[in-house]
């Protein structure tokens, strides 16, 4: 059974259609990358899947309609790492990562020792243990991204939505983050849906790519199927060459 099944999903902002009747299914442990130009609707689709914007159509998580679930139950199943997360400067890293436990707590409850242990595990996993007592305002870009991912990990959801997880990172840190997400989905069968700008990275990590344009998914399939010079020229207006790397991977090279 599919983990995520979106059918005919549309998102409107003040009447403007940002996502237009999108169908998308994702299996347990599968990684789907959303690619496409700015304004194609990738972020809005992720928001609909995370339940943070109203949408038309249906989204089912593990066969249950997302709209029929209480907000808190849905948040236990789906975690979102936004493109520009808000990190309150004065909050400590541990307090921030603990926010990921929110959907597992009663409305007015506070975290137990078990919750703190889960948050610490998430930090260990992301190599962020030594950041525990630091304040968010003191962190570097790479540290911030790791801490945000640790919060999502502490949420222990079966679906992980990532909006440009590597946008703020250099190549090395970007790869570290993607490697870690890859390990998690293999170990815990987490389904990953990630909006990714870097087409080569998207091709290397995702099982499937969904190319979006004008709010619709216009091409979907394996990296080799979706990433053609023609499709990229057509939808991004970018001039690129598609090269096969030494390991058989698809490499997208911009041309002048």
């Amino acid at each position: 059974m599919s983990r995520v099944a979106a059918a005919g999903v549309s998102v409107r902002y003040d009447g403007r259609l940002a996502v237009d009747a999108v169908d998308l299914t994702v299996l347990p442990g599968e990684w789907v990358a959303l690619i496409g130009p700015n304004g194609a609707g990738k972020t809005s689709l992720l928001r609909a899947l995370a339940g943070t914007v109203p949408f038309e159509g249906s989204i089912e998580i593990d066969g249950i309609a997302a709209t029929s679930l209480p907000r808190r139950t849905a948040a236990r199943m789906v975690a979102l790492v936004p493109q520009q997360p808000i990190l309150p400067d004065g909050m400590t890293v541990l307090d921030y990562v603990l926010l990921g436990r929110t959907p597992h707590l009663g409305y007015l409850a506070v975290e137990s020792d078990a919750d703190v242990a889960i948050a610490r595990q998430a930090m260990t996993r992301l190599d962020a243990t030594d950041l525990e007592g630091r304040r968010l305002g003191e962190l570097s870009g790479g540290e911030r991204q790791r801490v945000v991912l640790a919060r999502a990990l502490a949420q222990q959801s079966a679906v992980l939505l990532l909006d440009e997880p590597t946008a703020a990172l250099d190549v090395g840190h970007g790869q570290q983050v993607l490697d870690l997400v890859d390990e998690l989905r293999r170990e815990r069968r987490i389904s990953v849906i990630a909006a990714v700008h870097d087409l080569t990275l998207a091709a290397q990590y995702a099982d499937r790519l969904a190319l979006m344009d004008g709010g619709r998914i216009v091409a979907e399939g394996t990296p080799a199927e979706v990433l053609t010079e023609k499709s990229i020229q057509r939808f991004s207006g970018a001039r690129v060459s598609i090269v096969t790397g030494p390991g058989g991977e698809v490499v997208v090279v911009p041309r002048r």
Binding site: G51, T52, R71, A75, P82, G100, P103, L108, V110, R135
Partner: protein, 323 residues
């Protein structure tokens, strides 16, 4: 506790601290000591100083925790408990009674309370209708508009009744001078409800600090948290205003001082604001009634006069962030 003790021990009537403490001990169950105070001295302790100190503590704690909660729920460092029109509504209610009946009327606190609740209810309804359910900013703007309207109405009424301007003005500056046990009894339940509800929401205010969208993604409904906090803070603030008038500055300066001292988590800010607010207002009241004794300075003047420079010192010496 120290501030409360000082509030009871110090006053314009010269009473030695020793007998005052003994007098307090004497009232504890199973304790029987002779304080040596005469009936007048005992009355000063029991009917004047103690209720006044307790009322100051309740009002200070409530205004501080309400201000801290508003700063969290609206993610706005300038928020104070009067943000959504409590002060303007209470001011208009009190002014109407003072000019028609007189400042001694028992209706003044009731009218102030009703005015405060009504102002927030109107601001909340207007703000929600204009999209405030999804964003706290609309609520703040509705509050500003309602406050401006009610303040204009209050000024108009005041100008047309120039003979009672002094009484209105003294009410607006806030005072604990009329405090007795009956005021304590009025205020205690509002303080209790307000403080308990707000402190129970401390963790959710930390969740709101990451923004409404992420809060939603974490399974929290920001509008629900906002409604609960606004109702609790409004009840507490309206109660405080009805017994002590408009005491400014406490609700903004105490939570920020706590924030600068202990960090940005509401788990610490809110409980410590209760303690800090209580101590601050009791001490401010002590200054208000002792500094120029026997004349009293309006307590609102003292909170700003003492609190302002104190806050600037903290602001200058703390390395912590306000956000």
């Amino acid at each position: 506790m120290g501030a409360l003790a000082a509030g009871v021990l110090i006053g314009p009537a010269a009473l030695d601290p020793g007998p005052v403490l003994l007098e307090l001990l004497d009232r504890l169950p199973f304790v029987d000591v002779d304080s040596g105070l005469d009936a007048r001295g005992a009355a000063i302790v029991w009917e004047l100083r103690l209720p006044r100190a307790i009322l100051g503590a309740l009002v200070g704690a409530t205004l501080s925790v309400a201000g801290g909660a508003y700063q969290g729920v609206f993610r706005n460092p300038l928020a104070d408990p009067y943000l959504l029109g409590v002060a303007a509504g209470a001011g208009l209610g009190a002014t109407l009674v003072i000019v028609t009946i007189g400042s001694g009327s028992a209706l003044v606190p009731i009218a102030a309370f009703a005015g405060a609740i009504a102002a927030v209810a109107v601001a909340y309804a207007l703000g929600s209708a204009a999209g405030g359910r999804r964003s706290g900013v609309t609520l703040i703007l509705a509050g500003v508009a309602v406050a401006a309207f009610l303040t204009a109405a209050q000024t108009f009424v005041q100008q047309h009744n120039a003979d009672s301007i002094r009484e209105v003005y003294s009410w607006i500056l806030g005072r604990l001078g009329t405090a007795g046990w009956s005021e304590v009894a009025v205020m205690a339940p509002y303080a209790a409800i307000s403080i308990v509800v707000i402190i129970f929401h401390r963790r959710l205010l930390d969740v709101l600090a990451v923004g409404e969208e992420e809060a939603r993604a974490l399974g929290v409904r920001p509008e629900r948290v906002r409604a609960a906090v606004v109702i609790a803070a409004t009840l507490g603030t309206a109660g405080a205003v009805s017994v002590s008038g408009l005491i400014g500055f406490v609700g903004i300066v105490v939570p920020h001082t706590v924030r600068l001292l202990v960090g940005a988590s509401y788990r610490w800010i809110l409980p410590l604001s209760v303690v800090g607010g209580a101590a601050f207002l009791v001490l401010a009241d002590l200054v208000a009634r002792s500094a120029l004794g026997p004349a009293e300075i309006p307590i609102g003047v003292v909170t700003a006069f003492v609190g302002g420079p104190f806050f600037l010192v903290i602001l200058r010496t703390s390395r912590r962030s306000l956000s």
